[in-house]
């Protein structure tokens, strides 16, 4: 009986240890850039970015497939370097920011592709519609802040793409935009 209790306690310790192997991070909103590019009637690629980004990461460095990431963008924070275009992009013709204030990405599976790279598959929720999107992610570095050894910061870069019409932005084709939207993401996160 004592052996059983000991074995159970040891198993519990190992399981707890495994759970602690993943570190929790919070995205630093002042060092997060979610940019996008999409065709503008074939003339050029229109660039834009979201100014308000937040999210959390559970990062398991021993087994990256057990990591998770959740990112939220404020739709109304879109910026394309023209105020009138920003206003139109916030309307129901595009992001419908009043009805659907947040755009979210929640990982569902992670496949390791290299020492510091992975394919992160997740549900992108835009305009109330969720569809899977794959991001190619690179873990860049992790270190303490030079002026604060107790604060650990990590950083990632990611790229991916999705079709805007698939999420209900049907007006994209009417206005000669896209429909493919390329994402270019960089963010830093603070270890909690």
């Amino acid at each position: 009986m004592k052996r059983l209790i000991l074995a159970t306690a040891l198993a519990g310790m190992f399981m707890t240890g495994a759970a602690f192997a993943a570190d929790s991070y919070e995205i630093d909103p002042t060092h997060a850039w979610v940019g996008f590019k999409t065709s503008h009637a074939g003339w050029a690629k229109a660039h834009g970015a979201f100014k308000a980004v937040s999210g959390t990461i559970s990062f398991d460095k021993d087994d990256v497939t057990k990591s998770t990431v959740e990112i939220a963008l404020e739709a109304a924070s879109i910026d394309t370097n023209d105020e009138k275009r920003n206003t139109h992009l916030k309307s129901p013709d595009f992001l419908n920011a009043e009805e659907f204030p947040q755009i979210t990405f929640k990982s569902t599976s992670i496949e390791k592709t290299g020492d510091k790279t992975a394919k992160v598959t997740g549900d992108l929720t835009l305009l109330g519609t969720s569809k899977p999107v794959v991001l190619d992610v690179t873990w860049n570095a992790e270190s303490a802040l030079p002026w604060d050894a107790n604060t650990i910061k990590t950083g990632f870069s990611a790229t991916g793409s999705f079709n805007g019409v698939d999420f209900g932005i049907t007006k994209m084709t009417d206005f000669g935009i896209g429909p493919e939207i390329a994402l270019d993401i960089d963010f830093e996160a603070i270890k909690k």
Binding site: F100, T170, K171
Partner: protein, 287 residues
């Protein structure tokens, strides 16, 4: 792109409005039923042609709009049958209030809960429309100037369209433009009938009039709820043309001393004054 916009936002609704004017000719109960049913349904067809077929169940308000318009058409058609024998202006007004408040809540409860300015603006707009419905309802109304009501709604749709454009919502500008074309097509056919001697060419039955006003009000409601930066004053002004109609009707103004062909045009121009003011305010606010 321009051809597509002209086709969906102007030509199709214009033709539909003309067809409804021909199908619903006269003040018979059949004509009232047809007009009450078909005006919102034609608006739904215009919405689908502009925005595409919505998913079912609809997710966003703009996807709910065509379904709402079809439901509205069916409800008004049923009311046209049920209220054929007895039409009390307060019953019409009550139907009007419910038919405005319930869709506004369904379309925009999240927006209304989060945005006090839009909630206040929409409340003012819908109260004005409800008062207008009460003012134009009942057998005592429309002693004169019957052209003013559809002309006022044409002006409301144009005012809402320009306010939507300046407020950054081009899709709703297209939809309000389509409503203007729908009402314009109806008015064009009826104006020709009027010129040819039909004094009752512009007369609408109570439920048909309610259906017209409600359809225009749904366009205004969507504009208030979802235009990112539409000027609230412009939105309120854009629904005031029907109030001009109510005043003209109350005062029994018909411009009978003017040439026959000019009378509806003068009335239309008067009804359009608040809409013109709405456009000016929207343009100034849009900078």
């Amino acid at each position: 792109m321009l051809t597509q916009i002209l086709l969906t936002s102007v030509l199709l609704p214009l033709v539909l409005g003309a067809v409804i004017a021909l199908a619903g000719k006269g003040a018979t109960s059949r004509a009232v039923l047809l007009t009450a049913l078909l005006i919102p349904v034609a608006a739904a067809i215009a919405s689908v042609s502009i925005e595409g077929l919505p998913p079912f169940p609809p997710i966003a308000a703009k996807q709910k709009l065509p379904l709402l318009l079809v439901i509205g058409g069916v409800v008004f058609a049923i009311l046209a049958v049920l209220l054929r024998q007895f039409v009390n202006r307060w019953i019409i007004a009550l139907v009007g209030v419910v038919s405005l408040a319930a869709p506004a809540w369904w379309l925009g409860k999240n927006v209304l809960a989060a945005n006090a300015t839009k909630a206040t603006t929409l409340a003012i707009v819908l109260v004005i429309v409800a008062i207008e419905i009460a003012a134009v309802s009942g057998r005592q109304a429309r002693k004169s100037s019957p052209a003013a009501l559809p002309a006022a709604l044409l002006a409301t749709a144009i005012g809402s369209a320009l306010t939507a454009i300046m407020g950054g919502y081009i899709g709703m500008a297209q939809m309000n433009g389509a409503l203007a074309a729908l009402f314009g097509g109806w008015l064009l056919v009826r104006y020709i009938s009027y010129i040819r001697g039909d004094d009752a060419a512009f007369v609408l039955g109570d439920i048909a009039a309610l259906s017209f006003i409600w359809t225009a009000a749904m366009g205004a409601t969507m504009t208030v709820l979802l235009s990112p930066s539409a000027a609230p004053v412009a939105l309120v002004l854009s629904v005031l043309p029907v109030a001009i109609f109510a005043v003209l009707d109350w005062q029994e103004v018909g411009f009978a001393n003017r040439a026959r062909f000019l009378q509806p045009l003068i009335i239309g121009a008067l009804a359009a004054i608040p809409a013109i003011a709405a456009i000016l305010v929207a343009v100034l606010a849009g900078g």
